[in-house]
Amino acid sequence: MYRYDEFDHAFVRQRVDQFRDQVSRRLSGELSEDEFKPLRLMNGLYLQLHAYMLRVAIPYGTLSSRQMRCLAHIARTYDKDYGHFTTRQNIQYNWPALKDVPDILMDLAAVEMHALQTSGNCIRNVTADQYAGAAADEIEDPRVWCEIIRQWSSLHPEFSFLPRKFKIAVTGAPNDRAAVAVHDIGLRMVRNEAGEVGFQVLVGGGQGRTPVIGSMIRAFLPKRYLLSYLEAILRVYNLLGRRDNIFKARIKILVQQVGAQVFADMVEDEWQHLKDGPVELPDGELERIQAYFAPPSFEPLPTLHAGFVEAKDRDPAFAAWARSNLADHREPGYAIVNLSLKPVGGVPGDATSAQMDTVADLADRFSLGEIRVSHEQNLILPHVRQKDLHSLWQELTAVGFATANIGLISDIIACPGLDYCSLANARSIPIAQQISTRFAELDRMHDIGELKVKISGCINACGHHHVGHIGILGVDKKGEEFYQITLGGDATETAELGRLVGPALPYDKVADAVETLVDTYLEHRQGGERFLDTYRRVGLQPFKEKLYATH
């Protein structure tokens, strides 16, 4: 993992001091709420329906056990004893007092964390594949570049007042787990014909009220040019992105308006003046950062641990968990373990301080002290020996993190919705709870197989409904909560936007509707097809007919 040096420490402390001064100017009345707003937003502090909300960055989703303990401490000391892991690899605290926020930020700084650029019209916390550095299919660890982007974008003097927020995601693997195609910039590490590793660059993807799959503007960018190329994209956007209408201000609108090719040409023109200039990394800096992400010292182990195989044979519940919650590790004898934050009937993404402490302890004992956070709102222990899996599973079961549902129908992404969010039309969390309760039965869930349900409480799409295999969007119909259902969305390397099935349904019909859709899929399923595969083969019609025949 990256460790701060003296410069990083000094920077984050100076930032906290600056914010402490701004908070005291606000508390004394020298700053109005209006003047304070952009300043607090640059430190991740929002004003929500009931209270301030602090959003803390978990850069590229990587946490040490020590950092996780600090997140638990903040929940316990300054909040209502829990935190909420978001779809952008952040954690949110829903109830901090303004006067405590500088102290919270100081506690975070002590463990090399911050809330910088988790809000405001700037380059936001950069996100990555949650399996980075562990995945079997990885070309290179994307976190090296995420850290380089994190530093480069920190208080960037030119790009702190962009037309709108700006999100960058990076994947180092061909199987895209970071949803890069629905980000303002998506970076995919690829190998060219000469075998060199570089970036495929996508721009203008996004969700919200105008969902768009990003356009590729460069098939192969040599790694050393990443910062100058990003600077060129950001400059073109900063100068030409619309500022007259907040709903048309994201880069996707600019790219659509001028066309991807023209946009690429404008970037190219600007890039010629930046390329090989001072923004490129100085000699030695890439190597310095890379060294922090060197693989930990793995033990030499056999590819398959006999005890692990036996435990699966002996214990069907363990076998089911192993089937859904493990992913292939790059090292023989190791596995990536997903901890489900989606217990049946629970709130997706919430964790109490005690749970966070437990995860930290488990990470120390079983995963070389490392933890990951996924955009699907789960936690990951990235480096677990197969021989430890059964004991780890037992401990996870005891704390409620062993629901065997990763990637399955109850592993739902849901935004905070009307329960917390001032922009919401409808509740999201109770819909997720109803669906996960409806499909609680493990065998049935596993029989249905991979199925991504994503729920947003309004058109802003924080719950990623556009890219859900089943997407659910809360809308307001004459003051009542209704839900539109889309099918066929996909956030991976085969990204697609979901299509609307038909008229919106009332609150109490959503779980039934999901059941009807699932039954329709099971009726049409051939061979080992996933829901998405069947949908792609048979199209919307059979689902539509069933859904509106029965309702």
Partner: protein
């Protein structure tokens, strides 16, 4: 409105309140006797030769949507460019400033005008502005404080503050 002028580079920069010798003139206003004038892009494009013929220093004021390329060919004739921040949220002038300085090599005075707030001064200074029209009761002190709030910078900009990625290796090369 107080005018702040910075001198020196990088972290040793200092700021003073100075008298403003420039006069802003409207598009159809008569020119003052001999003073240096700041005109809009419209007037510059219309009266360019007449303005230059008076022999006085001339500056152009760009609205935030007017790009650096609109005056890039004229920079040799301009002693000042003023860039507008219609609201502090409109960040286009940061990019325009860097383009004028870095891409087009403008060496004259680069002035920030409009909604120029204390909490943005450091960003502006880093992007190459050297004078600031700022409506702050104690502008010089506010500016000095803003400049001193950070000693670590992660990215190169127009200013000469050495970014951390470079300092790290300068240091290790010296060791």
């Amino acid at each position: 409105m107080p005018l702040i002028k910075t001198s020196g580079a990088g972290t040793t920069a200092s700021a003073d309140v100075v008298a403003d010798p420039w006069v802003s003139v409207g598009d159809d206003d008569p020119l003052p006797a001999a003073a240096p004038v700041i005109v809009s892009l419209t007037r510059w494009e219309r009266d360019r030769d007449a303005l230059l013929a008076t022999g006085r220093p001339v500056g152009v004021r760009l609205a935030s949507h007017q790009l650096a390329t609109s005056i890039a060919g004229d920079l040799d004739h301009l002693a000042l460019v003023a860039l507008e921040f219609p609201t502090f949220r409109d960040g286009r002038a940061y990019s325009t400033a860097r383009q004028l300085r870095e891409r087009f090599g403008f060496k004259g005075e680069l002035r920030a005008v409009g909604n120029v707030l204390r909490d943005q001064l450091l960003f502006m200074h880093r992007c190459g502005f050297d004078t600031f029209e700022i409506a702050h009761p104690d502008a010089a002190a506010a500016f000095a404080k803003a400049l001193a709030e950070f000693t670590v910078f992660y990215q190169p900009a127009t200013d000469q503050r050495t970014p951390a990625p470079r300092l790290r290796h300068l240091r290790s090369a010296a060791e």
